[in-house]
């Protein structure tokens, strides 16, 4: 079979399987079809991406939100994998579903090299890199090394990297690329880059910069800065997000820079991004069983650290739900890397498959807790309650609750 006929057959198969999956309600229809399409035609992703302008987004935290910001900020019709299916089967499904010329794709960290090779994106956005699901990814420094290889001039990548200049692991990964736009955005979590990604000696952090004795240091040519306000290539951009969190301002700064690179004016992009109110159920109030829940997703230590800093400094109850299924990483050891001590003064209701691991962590951290074996027995609270959940626990609570 000639390649184009093979691709047409594969696309038909993707459509059929995804449609079948949706009408029989066996799935959301985004992964199964993509998988079969890739089996029928291994170069399908590459064929589907040809002729489009694609921005891909990867990193440990903020992928889904930043991708949603890129899609919204672009204006007009954009193909995107908004369901969070961020591996090639999900990309194939998204690109089969809609044929718009512009595509914003969220990419799992481990799959970035393959997706960059197949898709040939105009822009690769690198948000951050920190410990997450180590049972699957093993080592975060190896990930930086693999990113670096796939983005280097020698790899043939010709697009632009939009990179967080305050994350040494991201800088290490982006440094070998031909075109990089460095973004100076607030970055809280440094625990995974205390040792230099290049030489392993100590990275020295000062107020607004960092460096190692080997010469590896924060880039000085900055395209974007986010301090008191956002500036992209010398232009002040009025960033006023509708969704909370300093980390989301940083995500927006990267999205706007990526869009600038494909010709979207930052002043136009920011207006559309400011209007984004919810992303895949996140940042919204939900109702469940008489409770009003502020559902928040945090999957790893840096994500939890960022979210804990947004929890109000009052004595309100906080719910935390922890699972350790395959999509979460099966090892919950990371709970000891999360500064849960910030929750002292609150009472934490421990939910999820690994609620005893969480309760033990909180107990040693001097935080008051209740282990919830029966969710129906939690007393109703008049105020909205913050519910912090990791990946599969978040999905469960999203499915169980309804929008306010």
């Amino acid at each position: 079979m000639d390649p184009s006929a093979r691709n047409r057959l594969a696309i038909l198969a993707v459509r059929t399987v995804n449609w079948g999956s949706r009408v029989t309600r066996r799935g959301s229809g985004t992964v199964a079809g993509g998988r079969i399409g890739l089996q029928l035609s291994p170069k399908l992703l590459s064929a589907l991406a040809r002729g489009r302008t694609t921005i891909v987004v990867s990193g440990t935290n903020g992928k889904t939100t930043t991708t949603a910001m890129v899609a919204a900020g672009w204006g007009g019709d954009v193909t995107t994998n908004a369901t969070g299916a961020n591996m090639p089967a999900g990309h194939v499904a998204a690109l089969v579903e809609s044929s718009y010329a512009n595509a914003a794709l969220e990419v799992d960290e481990a799959w970035l090299p393959e997706v960059v090779r197949e898709v040939g994106p105009a822009v690769v956005v690198l948000l951050n890199l920190s410990r997450d699901q180590l049972d699957r990814a093993n080592e975060v420094r190896q990930m930086a090394e693999r990113w670096r290889r796939c983005l280097s001039t020698e790899s043939g990548f010709r697009g632009t990297v939009v990179a967080n200049a305050n994350d040494p692991l991201v800088v290490y990964a982006a440094m070998g690329a031909t075109n990089v736009r460095w973004c100076d955005i607030p970055t809280r979590w440094m625990a995974d880059a205390k040792s230099c990604p290049r030489c392993t000696l100590a990275v020295h952090y000062q107020v607004s910069t960092w460096s190692c004795t080997c010469g590896f240091a924060k880039p000085t040519t900055l395209s974007t800065t986010l301090h008191d306000g956002l500036t992209v290539d010398g232009v002040d951009v009025p960033l006023e997000l509708s969704i909370p969190g300093a980390f989301n301002e940083a995500n927006a700064a990267l999205a706007i820079t990526a869009l600038d690179e494909v010709g979207v004016s930052p002043l136009d992009a920011v207006q559309r991004i400011n209007a984004v109110r919810a992303v895949a159920g996140r940042f919204t109030l939900r109702q469940w069983n008489g409770h009003t829940l502020h559902l928040l997703l945090a999957k790893n230590p840096s994500g939890f650290d960022a979210l804990l800093s947004t929890v109000e400094d009052d004595d309100a109850d906080v719910w935390v739900a922890i699972n350790a299924r395959i999509a979460d990483g099966r090892d919950p050891s990371w709970l000891y890397d999360v500064p849960f001590e910030k929750l002292r003064g609150h009472r934490v209701w421990c939910l999820g498959d690994r609620r005893l691991d969480l309760a033990t962590r909180l107990d040693y951290g001097g935080v008051a807790f209740e282990v919830v074996n029966d969710v129906d027995r939690i007393p109703a609270s008049p105020e909205p309650v913050a519910l912090l959940a990791n990946y599969t626990a978040f999905s469960e609570w999203l499915a169980r609750s309804t929008p306010c």
């Binding site: 049972d135 099966r330 962590r361 951290g365």
Partner: protein
């Protein structure tokens, strides 16, 4: 039971910026809190890159990636650590920490690196990485934890393993870790002392020199749950 009220128990976590990949810092927290709850004045000191190693009763070594593991070993070999261990300090080492204490270990590629030589063991690269639950029999107790490493550790004659592997790989599929004098080592990484409260108390008792009063906490429920989930029926 008579006790020195003014004794300070210093617990030092060594190079958490290099060796602390899997929540290993939890072990120091658990030892300090369990000591405090028995009225012992415990001090928890993280010793970061560039800092001098203070005198301590217990030193903790965590797990780390290949490059940082090599650097940690170099820095510790040039520090007062070996002397302090020779002088009677207790060491609890997990994962990469377990490997560093031996004669040699292999990391990326198959290059061999000289370890600290405090224990007669050596680690080569295993044929595959071992990622998953680890369960071992230690005397009449059960150790539960999680391992994620590519090492194959061989114990020298006269070095006793810490436990017999019931599930997972440990050193070689048969035994896990080692126990020699004042050194405790296991491949169960991260907060192994949080998962195994009996082990935390055993370490504390060996340092304090007296039996601790039993204490009940949610950690006991966690231990029972993990044992039920992991033990072969």
């Amino acid at each position: 039971m008579a006790r020195e009220v003014n004794t300070v128990l210093t617990i030092a976590t060594l190079l958490p910026d290099l060796l602390g990949t899997y929540g290993d810092g939890g072990n120091g927290l658990v030892l300090a809190q369990r000591a405090r709850q028995r009225g012992v004045h415990a001090l928890l000191v993280p010793v970061e890159l560039g800092q001098e190693i203070p005198e301590a009763s217990i030193y903790l070594l965590g797990g780390g990636e290949d490059g940082p593991q090599r650097l940690a070993c170099d820095l510790l070999s040039k520090s007062s650590f070996k002397q302090r261990v020779d002088n009677g300090a207790t060491v609890v080492a997990v994962c990469a920490g377990l490997q560093i204490l031996g004669h040699s270990f292999s990391v990326e590629g198959n290059d061999r690196y000289q370890g600290l030589g405090l224990v007669d063991v050596e680690t080569t690269r295993g044929t595959s990485r071992s990622v998953g639950e680890l369960c071992a029999r230690v005397g009449d107790r059960t150790l539960v934890g999680f391992e994620n490493h590519g090492g194959h550790t061989t114990l020298g004659p006269g070095i006793s393993p810490f436990g017999q592997v019931l599930r997972g790989r440990g050193n070689d599929g048969a035994v896990d870790g080692y126990r020699t004098g004042r050194i405790w080592a296991t491949y169960a990484h991260g907060p192994v002392l949080a998962l195994n409260p009996w082990l935390a108390d055993l370490v504390l008792e060996s340092v304090l020199g007296y039996e601790l009063e039993p204490m009940q906490s949610v950690a006991d429920q966690l231990y029972a749950e993990r044992c039920a989930a992991l033990s072969p029926r």
